[in-house]
């Protein structure tokens, strides 16, 4: 089943990874793929790591991505990109937000936020495309749409027309937020479209 494509969305509770993965899943369903998506609920709202696995192809069996199997990792937060990097295939790509969100051990002063993540990953030959989605979202007037900015950046790595993405956004995102999200998506695309 090697024609299955595996994408992981990783971040911190509250960053909107789940909404982004719902848009992606909608796109894939509209395009006629078999899709499996897996996320673990539970303590997500309490500031823990959140991951969503999205797999698509002609026929998808397993609901989760194993280490070494992900073609893409869309990381919403810097440390989360590193934490999940072993899920990446040799030829996989991480699209990562540079945003840093301190976790409990850092907040209580027991550990420091690592400064060398980009270097560590580069040193191990991991292909990471860093972008500042939070700044782009803030520029659009709402940091909360960083998820859609990231999705836009990720969209240029998959062979779907931009219109199909917009359609999926319209299906999933409530009408009152759609214009802002379409703008965020377009801005995200520009970050990776050269």
């Amino acid at each position: 089943m090697s024609e299955t494509t595996n994408a992981m969305l990783v971040g911190v509770g509250g960053q909107g990874t789940i909404l982004a993965s719902r848009v992606l899943a909608q796109l894939l369903l509209d395009a006629g793929f078999d899709v499996k998506m897996s996320e673990v609920h539970g303590m997500a709202q309490r500031g823990g790591s959140v991951t969503t696995h999205v797999r698509f192809g002609r026929r998808v069996a397993a609901p989760t991505i194993s280490p070494g199997q992900a073609h893409f990792i869309l990381a919403f937060e810097c440390m989360e990109a590193a934490r999940h990097s072993h899920y990446l295939r040799e030829d996989g790509v991480i699209i990562a937000n540079t945003r840093r969100i301190p976790s409990l051990p850092i907040l209580i002063g027991r550990e420091a936020y690592p400064d060398d993540i980009a270097n560590r990953l580069a040193g191990r030959g991991v292909d990471v495309r860093w972008l500042d989605a939070s700044a782009v979202a803030a520029g659009l007037g709402n940091v909360r749409v960083e998820n859609t900015v990231l999705l836009g950046a990720f969209s240029t790595f998959l062979a779907f027309p931009e219109d199909a993405w917009k359609q999926a956004l319209r299906t999933v995102i409530p009408a009152k937020h759609i214009e802002l999200n379409l703008a965020a998506f377009a801005a995200g695309r520009r970050l990776t479209q050269q």
């Binding site: 309490r46 500031g47 823990g48 998808v60 609901p63 194993s66 590193a82 295939r89 409990l104 907040l107």
Partner: protein, 621 residues
């Protein structure tokens, strides 16, 4: 057009299509969304029960009364509901009764990873195990038919990845169901010994018939691929096996795994060269296969290869199978001519890819869950952490009180255990250190108190054991995602409900000293604990403050700020572990976006350097 549904949504949909009219549950990950989705269907009376036992009793009553009923719970919930479960097997049903158990291999959000398939065996009930959302819907529908046809409750077992995993589903219309009018049937429903004895015989007879059904049920199927390897599997484990082996194996895919289809399995096994049972957790299927006692050319493998603990994934299955396959053949399966040591597994589905060594995990600072900004539990655990007491913990968001920097918990056992376990611990202290004022403090959430803490408190009152109980009344069942409960004032439907009066209830139980405190006021909390410790008897403190994420009770308060001029950089405020506080260089900063103004941090500052925004700004002007 198919829609993407989680297994839980699909179960609710399937039950709705089957004409279900009553549904009950107590929340618990990964089962909670079943009832949350059910509540969207107007034709169904859906309710949160106070615990799994009452939920199942209610569903059984509804079934006997003549409406199709669904009851859902997490795996450990079935322990609580085990008593009615076993009895319901004897009473049988009138309208269909389906019980969903959502197991949690890997303990994503549970205290253990028990395998509830054994409950089907022990209670002698048919067991269905869907492996994706479409099957979840289809099996839920079928379960109601089976229930009525065989006069039995049906156990539908999902695991986290099926319950929360999403995949495309084709839906159907609802069919209303009709059951025979209720008739008093004492010979079946009044389980006194004289009734129970013949009912046991009837249950055994039913199992024989169910087994005959399992042999030809469309839920049990053989998928032929290479006959060199035969895989016996069920649930999500089947999906992992498929992923890894593709058409390089044949599969006996069991949707109905108890009673076990002996003849079908025998026939399958006789047509393959080697058998591997691939299943998560316990060797449930493997034991059934071994019990067949068949002599196959190759030994039957199962838990000899596949881990007994933890959750499976494709890679684990691939790594587990690879050596055995190579050994059995003298060469890796699927490679026509490669030498034994070539390690060339690449032709077997994804096996090659999946068993490659891969990258090592990057070590970065952990990201454990923590109390939210404005959480009412924070202050209580801050105070408890400073006291030389035994803290008898319980299950809920407040279990995070065990995390650093609070580390203020001695035990966390099962839902509702804190008070009775605290009673026991207090008794041990009383026996071993007579005359010393060593105390045990039980902490318990509102939902957990209603679930099964009340009975422990009654024990403490009745037996006069001086355990102190703090009820963390945050007005909601927070941990599982904000479900209503008898104290919250609302029902599952969102409609207003009768609100249980905690303080009155506690008094009626026989507790004389009942104090209610504002958990955002540390001095009040401290004082109340001191008063309780000064009294030898059992007493209760109700810490009454809403969950910070509960919108309807949210109070808008100004954010706090650190006055860097007077701050002595002692970092005492970091001991409240608030996500709004972080260190930048030597300074502690409060993120105005995250701070909800609860003020706990300002109360632990000895230099009065943390003040609400307006006050601080005023000072600068």
């Amino acid at each position: 057009m198919k829609t993407l549904m989680s297994g839980n949504e699909a179960i609710a949909r399937g039950a709705w299509e089957a004409g279900v009219r009553f549904a009950s549950a107590y929340p618990g990950t990964p089962s909670t969304e079943i009832l949350e989705n059910m509540a969207k269907y107007q034709e169904v009376r859906s309710q949160w029960s106070v615990n799994e036992k009452t939920a199942l009793e209610a569903a059984l009553g509804a079934s006997l009364g003549g409406v199709r009923a669904l009851c859902a719970m997490k795996h450990v919930g079935l322990n609580v509901a085990a008593d009615p479960l076993f009895s319901s097997s004897y009473t049988g049903v009138n309208a269909g009764l389906v019980i969903v158990t959502a197991d949690d291999p890997g303990c994503h959000s549970s205290q253990n990873e028990q395998d509830n398939r054994y409950y089907a065996q022990a209670a002698k009930l048919p067991l269905l195990e869907p492996s994706d959302s479409q099957e979840a819907l289809d099996f839920a529908r079928t379960a109601f038919e089976l229930s009525e046809e065989y006069d039995t409750p049906v156990l539908l077992r999902v695991t986290t990845r099926v319950a929360h995993g999403k995949s495309p589903v084709a839906t159907g219309p609802r069919t209303e169901a009709t059951a025979p009018a209720y008739e008093r049937t004492m010979a079946k429903h009044v389980l006194v010994p004289a009734v129970a004895r013949p009912r046991h015989a009837a249950v055994e007879e039913r199992l024989v018939q169910l087994q005959a059904y399992a042999e030809s049920s469309p839920m049990n199927r053989i998928e032929w691929g290479s006959r060199r390897l035969g895989v016996v599997s069920s649930g999500v484990a089947y999906q992992y096996a498929r992923e890894v082996l593709g058409d390089n194996a044949s599969y006996l895919k069991l949707g109905m795994s108890f009673p076990f289809p002996d003849a079908l399995a025998r026939s399958f096994i006789s047509q393959v060269e080697q058998v591997i049972v691939v299943e998560e957790l316990e060797p449930f299927l493997e034991q059934a296969v071994r019990a067949l006692g068949i002599d196959v050319k190759h030994p039957i493998e199962g838990k000899s290869l596949i881990p007994l603990t933890g959750e499976l994934d494709s890679r684990t299955v691939a790594l587990s199978l690879a050596p055995a396959l190579a050994a059995a053949e003298g060469r890796p399966l699927g490679t026509a001519s490669a030498p034994p040591d070539s390690g060339a597994l690449g032709t077997v589905g994804e096996l090659g890819n999946l068993s490659a060594p891969g990258r090592e995990a990057e070590q970065v600072v952990g990201r454990p869950p923590m109390f939210c900004a404005g959480c009412p539990h924070r202050g209580v655990f801050y105070e408890l952490g400073r006291l030389p007491v035994m803290v008898s913990g319980d299950i809920g968001c407040y279990a995070l009180g065990a995390m650093p920097p609070f580390a203020a918990m001695d035990t966390c056992i099962d839902m509702g255990a804190s008070i009775a376990a605290g009673l026991g611990f207090q008794t041990a202290l009383d026996i071993l250190r007579p005359g010393k004022p060593a105390r045990t403090i039980a902490v318990i959430g509102d939902s957990t108190f209603f679930h099964s803490g009340m009975t422990g408190l009654l024990d403490a009152a009745y037996n006069s054991v001086g355990v102190i109980t703090i009820i963390l009344d945050n007005r909601i069942t927070a941990m599982t995602g904000h479900q209503e409960n008898p104290g919250s004032g609302f029902a599952l439907s969102g409609a207003p409900a009768r609100e249980a009066q905690l303080a009155a209830l506690v008094r009626a139980i026989g507790i004389e000293m009942v104090q209610t405190v504002d958990p955002f006021d540390l001095a009040q909390v401290r004082e109340a604990i001191a008063v309780a410790m000064g009294d030898p008897g059992p007493s209760v403190i109700i810490a009454h403050g809403p969950c910070a994420l509960l919108r309807r009770l949210a109070v808008k308060r100004l954010a706090y700020q650190v006055d860097q001029d007077t701050c002595r950089k002692c970092k005492a405020c970091l001991r409240v572990a608030c996500p709004a506080l972080c260190v930048e260089g030597d300074n502690v900063q409060i993120d105005a976006e995250t701070c909800v103004g609860c003020g706990i941090c300002s109360q632990v500052c000895r230099f009065d350097s943390i003040r609400q925004a307006r006050a601080a700004e005023g000072g600068e002007e």
